[in-house]
Symmetry: C2
Subunit: 255 residues, 2 copies
């Protein structure tokens, strides 16, 4: 399968490297910024272009790994017609690709990807969707080369996965950041929280999270909660969050 990869961000980088590691042939990289494209192409050991006209028109698969906002722009005047094209976005409908090709789908790796940190793609669930059984089979075959967990989901399910991912990853990471800041204020090292962070994540691997909920809110310990709210007086946003989340944890219909 000869692939053209479009994009130079975190996802394009990590996905490109995962493909390279499995000897899947990336025949060209396209990036709107010439310097970014050159940089990543060097890493992926493949030719690159920053001109749409120069995009190879006979690849087996075009992987659009750009941010959601950039998808319409990159799709405009893309010199392909019948080849299979996929996007990699959690919250974008598959049908956005119907305007550029007869064969299209989605290839969505459910993971938080940074340029700074390597990721073991074999454990990253890849959510696939396609406009035909034949295209789905092609995507499944490719996904199975780089990941042990390939799952077919429809666009609605994928959007729900993305929404859930915002809670369990983006929002969780923000709370790690709040924790770090609270510690800094009292000259405490963020390292102190790390075993707790890992244990909390590990617990979720083996238990339904609701069944292992701990802390003042689930015990409805108003003394501590009031005390914490008072301690957060300098941080009205966090105070509001503390109040809302504690109330949500102790809602009886949560059971």
């Amino acid at each position: 399968m000869r692939i053209v990869l479009l994009g130079t961000g975190n996802l394009a980088t990590r996905l490109g490297m995962a493909l390279l590691a499995k000897n899947v042939e990336i025949i060209q990289l396209f990036g709107r910024s010439r310097s970014s494209a050159a940089l990543l192409a060097n890493l992926l050991e493949c030719p690159f272009t920053s001109s749409k006209k120069e995009i190879i028109a006979e690849a087996d698969l075009y992987i659009l790994a750009v941010s959601d906002d950039a998808i319409p722009d990159v799709l405009t005047d893309l010199p392909i017609r019948e080849q299979l094209i996929v996007h990699t976005a959690g919250s974008v409908s598959m049908n956005i690709l119907a305007t550029v090709s007869k064969n299209y789908g989605v290839f969505y790796p459910l993971q938080t990807l940074s340029k700074q940190k390597e990721v073991d793609f074999s454990s990253v669930p890849i959510c696939i969707e396609a406009n035909s059984a034949e295209n789905l089979a092609k995507l499944r075959a490719l996904a199975a080369i780089i990941s042990d967990q390939v799952v077919q989901v429809d666009s609605m399910q994928r959007k729900q996965l993305h929404l859930a991912a915002v809670f369990v990853s983006n929002f969780v990471n923000h709370f790690y950041s709040i924790g770090e800041k609270l510690l800094l204020e009292k000259q405490l090292d963020f390292d102190l929280l790390k075993p707790l962070i890992m244990e909390t994540a590990n617990k979720a691997m083996h238990h339904s999270p609701r069944t292992v909920q701990t802390g003042p809110a689930i015990r409805n310990n108003k003394t501590i909660m009031d005390h914490h709210l008072k301690m957060l007086e300098q941080h009205p946003e966090w105070q509001k969050l503390y109040e809302l989340i504690s109330r949500d944890i102790s809602r009886p219909d949560q059971e």
Copy 2:
């Protein structure tokens, strides 16, 4: 060091077992409920009582491992005077113990402890505090037997640690639970989120969380955020949380 352990909950259980594993002698367990005390005493291979009058008065250390609410009740009529007593609570001042003994302190393991799940105590930070250098040294020696990370903090710092722990553990776990529920609604398996949960936690081990923040809020992608808010219409509490946290993530003074 001959220890009397007071309490039969998650913390008493996990701490007792960590002490037992290191051959620290628990000479007696006290629990207000006779059946709970009997059960845990059996596990800890030690005598037990549910009568305060029968508490051994000559131990070297009394560890009060009960919930914050229960501390005043358990302290009343405790038959000790000069022996070292510690509590294990994140948000309770050390001085609450001054009424029962001349020698007191705090022994606070910073971890989320469940009866269901074993924990490797050697990686649990133990935060100690005491009313004298001598008592502090005793606590440090005991803590070092079961943990590799012993740190002296004052009551104010300990309360801040507890507050931060609520964010990075209790609230985080609640978000895992929201993720699980969102997936269930669309017939999706919670397992799909697990690699993401672990990767997000792992990232925090090696990077300051703010520097690896990803997602729609940090990119200020209003299209996706509006879409997510619409998807949460059936969950007004989560919708409100989504809005507040996204705004907090994108606040410029976060930098």
